[in-house]
């Protein structure tokens, strides 16, 4: 590794002469090595836990969901084609399907970050590393790459750099990208057909992936396979329809174990509940994400779910309303939104009491959108964006009430 250090030292550009290439060099250097400079102010700061390490911990916590999600893409793909593939083939198919997505997001997002850092003359901030990993995980597996590129550019430019860069955004960057696609290209992110990857992308074709299993690229999907997600089924049929769904092999498609492991059609990283729970525990243990938000979100869903369950007999047309409230936790993207989206320390409320209110309201509004809004069967992302608006207001009120309370002691 010595030669890499020497090489980086040799090519270090002069900061005064060429600020742009220095920023570029600095970004790569601090990515490879822990930076040599230490904290200048605040003698109590002796931890080496800087922004970059925090971000890398979040990315690590996402890996379980990521790996299970990659496997699931392949599993769904071969189930749709009716081919018996082994685990390795499924996993490699999923990874190859994911790779271009990740590359596009990083190139577009980091490119814009580099430009702004050089223009403003500060070091590159690491905040985008997390968003760049979150954006692919909340996309459907077959989403066209140009949409992801446009959405990433939009969210980094409008929702982040316009607000002043890392740590100052009001809205969650990854969520803005998702919501942008949701409203700009609704047909490629909702419905029954987008949740399974059917085709071979550039990488599969370049590696002749189909030949490995003697499948030609144009193989049609078999009859009897439905790409409908549990949420799609529940709109009309309720919980019974989810239970009744079967695979072509006759196996139950949405058994509890399949739903927990995430072996079902859906967004890439949102399906594997077990992987997400491991990640969530890791984040809480490392004190990066706040348990208050996660806990109060669970309570919010239970609260609203019980109300809906009680009101269910009055609304026989609504498929969602009679689903037992505890089943809402393992359907759709609730857990992913809870673990990785709502807990974003920048956009969430920052006071402790505020976090309880913030999480609770996300739970309530998210479930209202899921149950009462026939246009969008899934609402966690929209609920979090909605509460991002009011996070500052919640903080403002709590700080003002604290000031008022303490003022009486003066």
């Amino acid at each position: 590794m010595k030669f890499l250090r020497n090489f980086m030292d040799k090519i270090q550009p002069d900061k005064a002469k060429s600020p742009f290439s220095y920023t570029l060099w600095d970004g790569i250097d601090t990515f490879l090595y822990a930076p040599g400079h230490v904290t200048h102010q605040g003698t109590h700061l002796k931890d080496s836990m800087d922004l970059k390490r925090t971000m890398i911990h979040v990315v690590l916590a996402m890996q379980f969901a990521f790996l299970l999600g990659a496997y699931n893409i392949g599993l769904q793909h071969y189930q749709a084609l009716g081919v018996d593939a082994n685990i390795a083939a499924e996993f490699v198919y999923g990874l190859l399907q994911l790779l271009p997505l990740i590359i596009v997001v990083h190139v577009v997002g980091l490119g814009i970050e580099f430009l702004f850092a050089a223009k403003k003359g500060h070091a590159i901030e690491e905040g985008f590393l997390v968003s760049a990993f979150l954006i692919p995980l909340i996309m459907p597996p077959g989403v066209p790459l140009y949409m992801v590129a446009i959405a990433t550019a939009f969210s980094v430019l409008i929702a982040k750099e316009a607000f002043g860069g890392t740590g100052m955004n009001i809205f969650n960057v990854a969520l803005v990208a998702r919501v942008f696609i949701f409203f700009a290209y609704p047909s490629s992110i909702s419905g029954d057909t987008c949740w399974v990857a059917y085709d071979y992308n550039i990488l599969h074709q370049a590696l002749n992936f189909g030949d490995w299993l003697h499948i030609s690229a144009g193989t049609a999907m078999i009859d009897g396979f439905s790409g409908a997600t549990p949420l799609g089924l529940a709109v009309s049929g309720g919980w019974e329809a989810i239970q009744a769904a079967t695979l072509p092999s006759g196996e139950q498609q949405y058994s509890i174990s399949n739903m927990m492991w995430g072996f079902m059609p859906g967004s890439i990283g949102e399906m594997s509940k077990i992987g997400i729970i491991i990640g969530a525990i890791m984040l809480i243990k490392l004190k990066i994400a706040d348990w208050r938000i996660m806990f109060s979100m669970v309570i919010g869903v239970a609260f609203m779910g019980v109300i809906f369950n009680i009101a269910a007999p009055a609304f026989p047309d609504n498929g969602f309303i009679a689903i037992p409230f505890y089943m809402h936790y393992i359907m759709g993207s609730f857990l992913f939104a809870m673990a990785f989206m709502a807990t974003d320390p920048v956009t969430a409320a920052s006071t402790n009491r505020g976090k309880f209110i913030y999480g609770f309201m996300i739970g309530v509004i998210g479930l209202i959108i899921r149950v009462a809004n026939p246009a969008y069967p899934e609402g966690w992302m929209l609920a979090i964006i909605f509460m991002n608006i009011f996070a500052s207001l919640i903080d403002y009120n709590i700080i003002q009430s604290n000031i008022k309370r303490r003022l009486s002691n003066v």
Binding site: I369, A372, I385, F386, S392, L393, D395
Partner: protein, 204 residues
């Protein structure tokens, strides 16, 4: 249940500011601090909640086709004064705003000073006249129009207080120089609208 429905619909699903983008002038100009935003928001709630039912009465008993017949006799059964609508609604709104202005000046001179010209300008705030006109096209009854006025006012209140809290936080952010101030407020309004779009389509 009917009234809750109208209230929630007008406050969230058909938010005057973030869905219809009405009343932008005061929304952008008075949202620099939460305190003044609360004052203006409360004034808008009050004016909307009063003008909607009054305008409903004015239209029902004076302007509508045949409304004059019970007073002036059957000869007027086909007379419609609807063409005078806009002028009269604005006159009613102006009167109510004058009332609010006097109350605020009497009880909170500080708020009166900080609202400045935007308090009398509520008169020509599109969301107030919009409230009246939407109420007419939706064919609400008297009590429904009160709830509708309060709901739309509450929606305006939420939006302006929300953006004011965000803008107070943004004071500490490193916003690019050309976007500081109004430019950022426009971007924020757009993104807030994106957040409210998630609620559109909810059936109660």
């Amino acid at each position: 249940m009917e009234f809750v429905n109208i209230f929630v619909k007008s406050a969230f699903l058909e938010n005057m500011v973030l869905i219809y983008f009405l009343g932008m002038c005061s929304f952008l100009a008075v949202s620099k601090s939460v305190k003044t935003a609360v004052g203006l928001g409360a004034a808008v709630i009050f004016v909307l909640a009063i003008t909607a039912p009054i305008n409903w009465c004015v239209r029902e008993f004076l302007l509508k086709e045949g409304a004059l017949a019970p007073i002036l006799g059957d000869a007027y059964a086909e007379v419609s004064l609807e063409f005078l609508g806009l002028i009269i609604y604005i006159a009613v709104i102006a009167t109510m705003v004058q009332l609010v202005e006097m109350i605020i000046e009497k009880y909170s001179p500080a708020l009166y000073m900080s609202l400045g010209i935007f308090l009398p300008l509520i008169t020509v705030n599109c969301s107030i006249l919009g409230g009246t006109l939407f109420m007419i096209t939706k064919e609400y009854g008297f009590s429904e129009s009160i709830v509708y006025g309060m709901g739309s006012g509450f929606g305006f209140f939420l939006a302006i207080v929300g953006i004011a809290a965000i803008r107070e936080k943004l004071k500490y952010s490193d916003v690019p120089a050309p976007l500081r101030g109004l430019g950022m407020a426009f971007i924020l309004t757009g993104l807030m609208g994106l957040g409210f779009m998630g609620l559109m389509g909810i059936k109660l």
